[in-house]
Symmetry: C2
Subunit: 386 residues, 2 copies
């Protein structure tokens, strides 16, 4: 596989039909007659229609043949018809909550024969599961179908990577000691959103966002402690950047460890260990490689450098519709990489109270290895900003 050229076109009917075929093949393997999708990400993957979860459920009921049926509230049916990129049948319910006999479950249950074997997502809420007829099987066939991207999907992610690559460049220009987080968050987010709407004026804002932030050294050891906007950038480092975007429905990320002005003496060694761990993952990432083995090798490199206690997370995760999904480059994921998967490679070292070290890229698995779709400086020299 060569890296596809970026595209911003909406998915064709053929593309959405291919995705449905993939799901149906897995439904047959799982021996289910009907599949019910509640997860808005999965519904978007199959239909190009985006919703967010609220008390009025959207449910896509997928038979092995014939049109999928969208169960949606009256309020939304015109919206679904306007946005869906494929043919659907519709089953409309009045409102939530409705008087007895007119609720979503009254409509929903008529669509599924009681003798059917019905596949459902592990994310399905118990309140919906309990009202789903048939013999239920929890099986994530749509997540499985999403693991290997179509060429079209990759071309969309390539475009999204151009946005975060430009956003990260902007971030490194703005980030100086004393600059508050708000300037970076506001400036880079707006810069990227402007790029998105320049490239895709009709981008669906329900599946579009772009975010950029820097964890200054006072919190970079705690990778999920979202900074507050008044927090100033500091002299030295390590600072850790996060630039993520979901661009009209396709998610990616780019992150770097960097320094402002100088590198504290203690920080060079963990930075070098992180680079070596990262190089180990890149060298192993190819079709057939077992995800758990990559994570194990990465952890061994970090431990050999003496930072085994500074590992807080796995080596990476998948991308696609979202910026955070399967497969997982994690000790517990025994699956093999395949050509056309998209993963992050982002081993991290977190020295408690002192600072964190992590680069992350959006990486495509190719026929014989991998290639990063995001670009930013990588070395300590290039990431020490005067």
């Amino acid at each position: 596989m060569t890296v596809p050229v970026a595209t911003t076109a909406a998915p064709s009917r053929a593309e959405l039909a291919e995705r449905l075929d993939r799901v149906r093949a897995r439904m047959r393997s799982a021996d289910v007659d009907v599949y019910v999708s509640f997860d808005p990400v999965n519904i978007y993957y199959l239909t190009n229609f985006a919703n967010y979860v609220h008390e009025r459920p959207f449910l896509l009921v997928i038979p092995l043949d014939g049109l999928p049926v969208m169960v949606a509230p009256l309020l939304e049916t015109s919206h679904v018809r306007a946005r869906a990129g494929c043919d659907l049948a519709y089953a409309t319910y009045a409102e939530f909550p409705a008087p007895a006999g007119a609720n979503w479950f009254d409509v929903f249950r008529t669509l599924i024969p009681t003798e059917a074997r019905v596949g459902v997502e592990s994310a399905m809420p118990i309140g919906i599961f309990e009202r789903t007829p048939g013999t239920k099987v929890v099986v994530d066939v749509i997540e499985e179908a999403r693991l290997v991207k179509t060429p079209y999907e990759i071309a969309r992610n390539v475009h999204a990577c151009q946005i975060v690559t430009a956003g990260h460049e902007k971030l490194l220009q703005l980030c100086r000691p004393g600059v508050p987080e708000a300037v970076i968050y506001g400036g880079v987010t707006q810069f990227m959103m402007a790029m998105v709407f320049r490239d895709i004026p009709t981008a669906n804002i329900m599946v579009t966002n772009a975010k950029a932030a820097v964890w200054p050294p006072s919190i970079s050891f705690d990778p999920h402690r979202i900074p507050s906007l008044g927090m100033p950038m500091e002299n030295g480092g390590p600072h850790v950047s996060i630039v993520t975007a979901q661009v009209d429905g396709y998610g990616v990320e780019l992150e770097r460890t960097f320094f402002l002005g100088y590198v504290p003496e203690w920080a060079a060694a963990p930075f070098a260990a992180m680079l070596e761990a990262r190089a180990t993952a890149y060298a192993m990432a190819r079709p057939g490689a077992i995800l758990a083995e990559i994570d194990r090798a990465v952890r061994a490199v970090i431990a050999r450098h003496g930072y085994g206690d500074c590992i807080l997370h796995r080596t990476g995760h998948g991308f696609g519709i979202t910026g955070h999904e399967g497969p997982y480059v994690a000790l517990g994921d025994e699956r093999a990489l395949q050509e056309g998967m998209l993963i992050s490679i982002e081993p991290g070292i977190y020295v408690a109270g002192r600072g964190g070290f992590r680069h992350s890229d959006t990486v495509l698995i190719t026929a014989d290895g991998c290639v990063s779709l995001t670009q930013a400086p990588e070395t300590l020299e290039a990431l020490t900003i005067a």
Copy 2:
């Protein structure tokens, strides 16, 4: 109840303890020994810690006495400790997915005796429900506790209403024929976000957002068809605005039907019908009023004006932590309003292919009636912009 003065202070320990007491009282009524919360909104309500749902679950295990236990990944425990506003016990798991014996469910299941009666949310994913020990009871005790706001919560929502009130004023200044949606969305969103961070420099961005958009007449008949950013505003109307915000964890909204330059002749009658339907709801909204009866009366007013076929949704919904929650001013909600509830009053009339008519406000139920916490022009005259 008088309307509390706006506050932006973080919730005190006493406030969070009061919320936990409310939940425990309902746990006792529901005869459960332990409650498990997965919903990030409910976890935020009880702890002031915000997370978003991804494949690594956060689970709050609440016994009848003693500290609630937060089940969280290693990656997040420092983050939770930094943000939680109350004392918690912690149960940490390694990663997702982890090797056998080290996953979230291995830790989680040790926290609950198999003989316990365990309450769970109807939103709990089946994949977590299946791994929850004990005799399970689906009961939404935290949603029930959230229905009536504490004075502190109302004071936070009062502040959030100041933001959307100012945002809506800005929106009406920017909205002119030919102006693209992007200018309104970008301008008003940034204006409101600047206000939020002026007032609350430490606002948690995981539970902070502000959005403003206008549905021009070409789509205002379809209330959930999110406009695209290239869409220009038009001469005439009806345009329908939506200004919403979640301000450091407290959600509200303000919406208006308005016209640019002139009012098409056909539009005056449905506008008047909408105003009358709205006045009906305001007149009925007081403690003891049955929600379904308000919606029934509102629908009758709209039908009497000849627009019965133009109703797409209920009269309103609740506010609190989010901008969209129970109770529901809907035919199917037989509960009574209580002092301290916050609801939207937003009956809508949607003339297919021609335009929509809806005002929405964030309304507090007081001891003997109700009061809107949001302010914007209401009449056809005031909403016809030269």
